[in-house]
């Protein structure tokens, strides 16, 4: 019983937290305008990146099939990836939980007596809260992606998976730099800001003991780690320090090298509208004898953290097709309004609503799948054609089904079930499947329409209440037919 009470209060707390975040961020006009402006820009860029809708559609279908093929063979490809990486001299580590991943990384750093880490952008390391973990162990972590660097200086978390600091405008960044960077010459010019930030980072690259990066595609047949980036910081992190640790989710493995070009092309165009990113790194091994640069050691940490739960269900598995382009959030009318932090999860927006329940359990996230109008803008732009609204619907079903119902598909299933709501839907179904009961309820609604309350909760906080008609369409048609002598 105590266990149940704790579970329910945890859920209530998190639903409450989401609501509080939403209220806070909806009321922040500067934040709202930062997001609206940025999302408009990103939507435009994407639109301009494809020559025709046919081209886009062909590419999307192709990339969906690639990811589905790779997921269908996931266990085999992971083994093949491990074998080929090890052959190339890259050590592979498996982590089921975020704690395991952090422990592995901390240990690798400790073995090298590392004190400072420079990081390329990695959402998986955000997932494990790696910076906090390492800093507690006196290892200094510096984010080297400009957006991540801004977010780290501000002691915040990324609000977008591609553009971590998109919630800040240039004035806010200028103030942040002025408060935190010694010798900063005040400017709100974006190029000047970035240049000054880069100067700070440049020194750090050379001093760091360890470089940590993410991975966009891990190629099984060749044992290659692919890294997409625009700033060159990813290349610095993976070539200058003696130890390079890459961390990624198990779903990033792809079968063939030939799968890379279409995925890469669709990733950059969907994300930022770029035909290709400024840098594309393909890492095959540590430094070889005679080579002048590159790390002495390269490691890959493969993280599960709930992904195998999604994998086990054929429909939910499609969640793992995601290549993390961020187009779903760029086009999401809810994300555009509330921004990335309100979600309270590492991954915001539609992809966050789909993947977070596997990572954190539906008990902590059951309010996320419902925070969507199911408008479908996300599914329409998803480069790998994940049927996002359908998956959100499925998560809603898992969330409201009786807790006892077997088999258990997800951690925390049934956490969103509310007995009153469940009863209402039961009665609703009885009424709507019975023509007699339905006619009776409509008769009541229209005859007693004067009883319709003027206030209907949140609905009437910005709208007037709708008014039932004096007679239903059923009745109007019946009386029309009897007038024509046909009733």
């Amino acid at each position: 019983m105590k266990h149940i009470i704790e579970e329910e209060s945890k859920y209530a707390a998190s639903a409450k937290a989401f609501r509080a975040n939403v209220t806070r961020d909806l009321g922040n006009e500067e934040l709202r305008s930062n997001f609206r402006g940025a999302m408009d820009y990103l939507m435009d860029k994407r639109k301009g990146a494809f020559s025709s809708e046919d081209e886009l559609e062909v590419l999307r279908e192709q990339c969906k099939l690639i990811k589905q093929r790779c997921l269908a063979k996931l266990p085999h490809l992971l083994e093949q990836l491990e074998g080929n990486l090890e052959k190339n001299g890259i050590k592979v580590h498996w982590a089921e939980t975020i704690t395991e991943a952090n422990e592995i990384i901390a240990q690798l750093i400790a073995q090298k007596k590392g004190k400072s880490v420079v990081k390329g952008k990695s959402m998986v390391s955000e997932e494990t809260a790696l910076n906090d973990y390492l800093e507690e162990r006196n290892v200094e972590c510096l984010e080297s992606d400009m957006g991540e660097y801004i977010v780290q200086l501000a002691k915040e978390h990324p609000s977008h998976i591609i553009m971590p600091a998109i919630h800040q405008n240039k004035k806010q960044v200028a103030k942040l730099f002025a408060d935190n960077i010694e010798g900063f010459e005040y400017s709100t010019d974006v190029d000047t800001l970035i240049q000054q930030g880069r100067t700070v980072l440049r020194d750090k690259f050379c001093q760091a003991d360890v470089g940590i990066s993410g991975v966009n595609f891990a190629v099984a047949e060749t044992g290659t780690l692919c890294l997409v980036e625009n700033e060159g910081n990813g290349r610095m992190c993976t070539t200058i320090p003696d130890l390079h640790i890459a961390i990624t989710g198990i779903e990033k493995v792809i079968e063939h090298l030939a799968d890379v070009p279409p995925l890469l092309s669709l990733l950059t165009r969907s994300a930022t509208g770029q035909a290709i990113s400024t840098y594309f790194n393909m890492i095959n091994s540590p430094r070889k004898p005679g080579e002048k640069d590159g790390p002495q050691e390269v490691h890959l940490v493969l993280l599960d953290n709930g992904r195998s739960q999604a994998f086990a269900d054929e429909e939910l598995r499609q969640t793992l097709q995601c290549i993390r382009c961020g187009a779903c959030m760029n086009h999401c009318p809810v994300y555009t309004r509330i921004g990335g932090h309100a979600y309270g999860t590492v991954y915001p927006g539609p992809i966050g609503k789909m993947i977070s329940p596997h990572m954190l359990g539906l008990d902590a996230t059951s309010n996320l799948p419902t925070a969507s109008t199911l408008c479908g803008a996300c599914g329409e732009v998803c480069p790998v054609k994940i049927p996002i609204p359908k998956i959100l619907l499925r998560l809603r079903q898992e969330s409201v089904k009786p807790k006892s119902q077997q088999p258990e598909v997800m951690k925390g299933q049934g956490a969103g079930r509310n007995n009153v709501e469940a009863l209402i839907w039961k009665v609703w179904a009885q009424v709507h499947k019975s023509p007699k009961l339905y006619a009776l309820s409509m008769w009541g609604l229209t005859r007693f329409r004067f009883l319709m309350p003027k206030k209907l909760g949140g609905w009437t906080s910005v709208r007037t209440a709708p008014k039932p008609a004096a007679a239903t369409l059923h009745e109007r048609i019946k009386s029309k037919q009897s007038q024509h002598g046909r009733g």
């Binding site: 886009l56 309004r337 609604l445 048609i477």
Partner: protein, 261 residues
């Protein structure tokens, strides 16, 4: 760039003698004029309209809330109401999408269900692709905006058919509002469960519609209009939305239309 949506491509039948009308629960209880106007419009084209009295709701409210069994029971009861092999014309893109696409998932791919889904047509889709309606506009000169519901747009292609019908009206200028394809924030129970996000969305949608300076906007879905008109009324704006069935009928008859709330 318009998104290519292959699910809109379908074989359309020849003009039938009879059709069923699915009125939807919102039209039934709140906006019966829309249903009557849709029937009149179809009858003017020489089609007999059958309205099964046993119909109620497509089941979407429960389906979207995650109550699949409840949605299934209601959906199945609706399929039974439309046994003849004639088109089922639905005066909502959202309910039409539910019945055409989601019933297969919900009720299983059996021949009876499949046949039913194949017979479902959204109202404007039916006018354009089956009736090939060329409305003769008798109304006064005016400008209107068009709001297409998201399900109607993405599942039924109504933004194309709605646009086509209005563009054929000689005296009507169609004005495109900013963020035309963006959701109005209704989303059924979303508007109640996440009322403040919904409020922010409908505030923007109504602002963009008002900014066009039209006297009315037209839509094929009363769900969205209940949301947008309710917000416009609350804001004491004069702009109102009207269902495209009523709007077209009034234009053809030369009446000035009114907008519904």
């Amino acid at each position: 760039m318009q998104q290519l949506n292959t699910q809109h491509l379908r074989d359309y039948p020849k003009k039938p003698k009879q059709v069923y009308l699915f009125g939807t629960c919102i039209v039934d209880s709140f906006f019966p004029d829309t249903g009557m106007d849709a029937i009149e419009l179809l009858e003017r084209e020489g089609i007999e309209v059958i309205y099964p009295q046993g119909q109620s709701c497509c089941g979407q409210p429960a389906y979207n809330s995650g109550y699949k069994d409840e949605a299934k029971a209601v959906a199945l009861s609706q399929v039974k109401q439309f046994p003849l092999d004639i088109p089922v014309v639905v005066v909502s893109g959202s309910c039409g999408g539910m019945m055409r696409h989601h019933y297969l998932d919900l009720l299983g791919d059996d021949p009876e269900i499949n046949n039913f889904c194949q017979r479902v047509f959204e109202f404007t889709e039916f006018l354009v692709h089956v009736l090939r309606l060329k409305p003769i506009d008798q109304g006064p000169k005016e400008r209107v905006a068009l709001h297409t519901s998201c399900a109607a747009r993405r599942e039924m292609g109504v933004h194309i058919t709605g646009n086509k019908l209005i563009s054929q009206l000689a005296n009507v200028e169609l004005v495109i509002h900013d963020y035309e394809s963006e959701c109005c924030g209704f989303g059924g129970t979303f508007a109640v469960k996440h009322a403040d996000i919904s409020a922010a969305m409908v505030a923007d949608k109504s602002k963009h519609l008002v900014a066009t300076d039209v006297v009315r906007y037209v839509s094929a879905d009363h769900g969205c209009m209940m949301n947008i008109n309710g917000a416009l009324d609350y804001q004491k704006q004069s702009l109102r939305g009207e269902h495209i069935a009523s709007y077209l009928l009034n234009r053809i008859k030369g009446n000035s239309s009114k907008g519904s709330l």
